[in-house]
Symmetry: C2
């Protein structure tokens, strides 16, 4: 029997990506959709239905559709409540719409949870049972797999490691949360901090030259300011992760997103904090690893979530 | 059919308490055992077997024994690895011993997890699905019920909210963990802080007069120093809890232990921090409640864990 095929959709704030997924692998990609210029939510849904039609032509045995959304999603009832950076999505009964229009089983999930699911089933957290996934970018998101199941929490909001505090008298987060990790290690904050540190070192660097990628190259080329900044970022991320480690005693921490590409510049100080701030029971068997599926984690995770939630025959 | 009866045992650092438990209620208490003066671990086990014999005489239909230990316990294999304040317990195969000597089913668990289980099944967290229990005392412990199951983590260590950091440059915890909550709100720390605050206010108060109970009375009688201290303790506990709320999105937080008796002096600032540092999805349906079972939570929880783990006929 061939493996079941599903369509996975990664709904981003600027671009929507979709693909046919089989056995955790992308077998065919659909055309991108421009999130901001396609129109309101019904125009986007029509564009999505076009893509679904095209992909099903390639694989008529497609059985399900899964979508990861950047916002608040009721994955139980298939409703998209609100998106972080895309207006016009208020309580859209997305699964009902997709089922009605395509006849296929559909599943929706928050994007960080979709990505974590992908990394768990087919990526860096394979074989893990208790997993924390963290994504570093403009914001800092996260998701949890606990006891071998996607953990959503009472109101489906669990996993927000980026909003946890590393200093109760520190920087103010988006929700009044003092010391929110995101306000230290988000991309914009990294750029600002780099610029200030360069300035202190007597060097004027335009903010556009302070992206994680450029700072990564700089550190690897021996730039002391960049090296110092990565060590500090690693410390701060490590503190938030050590807190999660004490609470959850995970076997795997997956770190994804642009910043994670800094590799050992970031992973070494993170591991060092976790070791120095917890105890052997907590860190001895803990793996802290970079995400493996990269930009495809959301597509693969969404498709797999849809397949795994198919009603049993 | 009558409810099954189990013996619950709360193994404390100074006293071991035991009782017959039926339907989450204590129906008969056994004599206390003095932990420190009874002798080595085999002498304590013999004393425990005496108590078990006495209780079974009262209820010959007893089917199981559950024990909560203050330390590292392998609840899956029934082994007590190490206790925090009682020497001589190294990898004791407790469940095997109890089964062999009594013929009854036996279960062991960490004490904080036993208490949480009791509060979940019969106490303040009844009807909860995602629960954080926190115990305030000499140390600050905790345990998690997630998705309607006791959550233990990869190495059975999960729940240690007292070791999480509220300030990455703060006080040093027992494990090198800077800013460990326990080092702010443990009983000894509360006493020290109170004494210093009184001193600053021009009042010399002996440290013995700075117990949580006395500070509680003082604040309720209008003592400004005590009131200020409780507000600060509530803030610090609230910060650690807000972090757990972002990560776990629980429906219930249960706070137990001596300090929790301060009631609104403590619960008001805690709630205020959680509200001001999270978002409605996380706090709207969140209950933050004092533990209900008091000193019996461990006995009731252990007995219930033992009953719930009985092999199915």
């Amino acid at each position: 029997m061939p493996s079941p095929t599903a369509i996975g959709i990664d709904f981003g704030g600027t671009t929507i990506k979709c693909a046919l997924v089989e056995d955790g692998k992308i077998v065919e990609r659909g055309q991108l959709i421009d999130t901001l210029h396609t129109g309101d939510h019904s125009a986007i849904i029509e564009a999505l239905l076009d893509r679904i039609l095209e992909l099903r032509r390639i694989r008529p045995d497609t059985v399900a559709i899964g979508i990861g959304f950047p916002g608040i999603v009721d994955s139980i009832n298939g409703i998209v409540h609100r998106l972080s950076n895309v207006p016009g999505w208020n309580d859209v009964p997305m699964c009902d719409i997709l089922r009605r229009r395509t006849g296929l089983h559909a599943a929706v999930e928050n994007d960080a949870k979709s990505m974590a699911y992908g990394e768990w089933k087919y990526g860096a957290a394979r074989n893990g049972k208790d997993i924390l996934c963290m994504t570093l970018g403009t914001g800092v998101g996260g998701a949890l797999i606990l006891d071998g199941r996607l953990y959503r929490g009472a109101n489906l909001g669990a996993g927000e490691i980026g909003q946890t505090s590393i200093d109760y008298q520190g920087r103010t987060g988006n929700y009044g949360n003092l010391g929110a990790l995101e306000k230290y290690v988000g991309n914009a904050q990294i750029a600002e901090r780099a610029q200030k540190m360069y300035e202190k070192a007597g060097k004027l660097v335009p903010i556009e030259q302070c992206t994680p990628a450029i700072l990564d190259d700089a550190a690897k080329a021996g730039d002391q300011v960049a090296k110092q900044l990565w060590a500090q970022l690693g410390l701060e991320i490590g503190v938030a992760l050590a807190n999660a480690v004490w609470l959850l005693n995970p076997d795997t921490i997956v770190i994804g997103g642009g910043v994670a590409r800094a590799g050992n510049l970031l992973f070494e100080p993170i591991l060092s904090v976790i070791r120095s701030a917890t105890m052997p029971t907590f860190y001895e068997n803990l793996r802290v690893v970079p995400a493996e599926l990269g930009n495809d984690a959301g597509i693969i995770g969404s498709a797999t979530l849809a397949l795994d939630s198919l009603p049993r025959a």
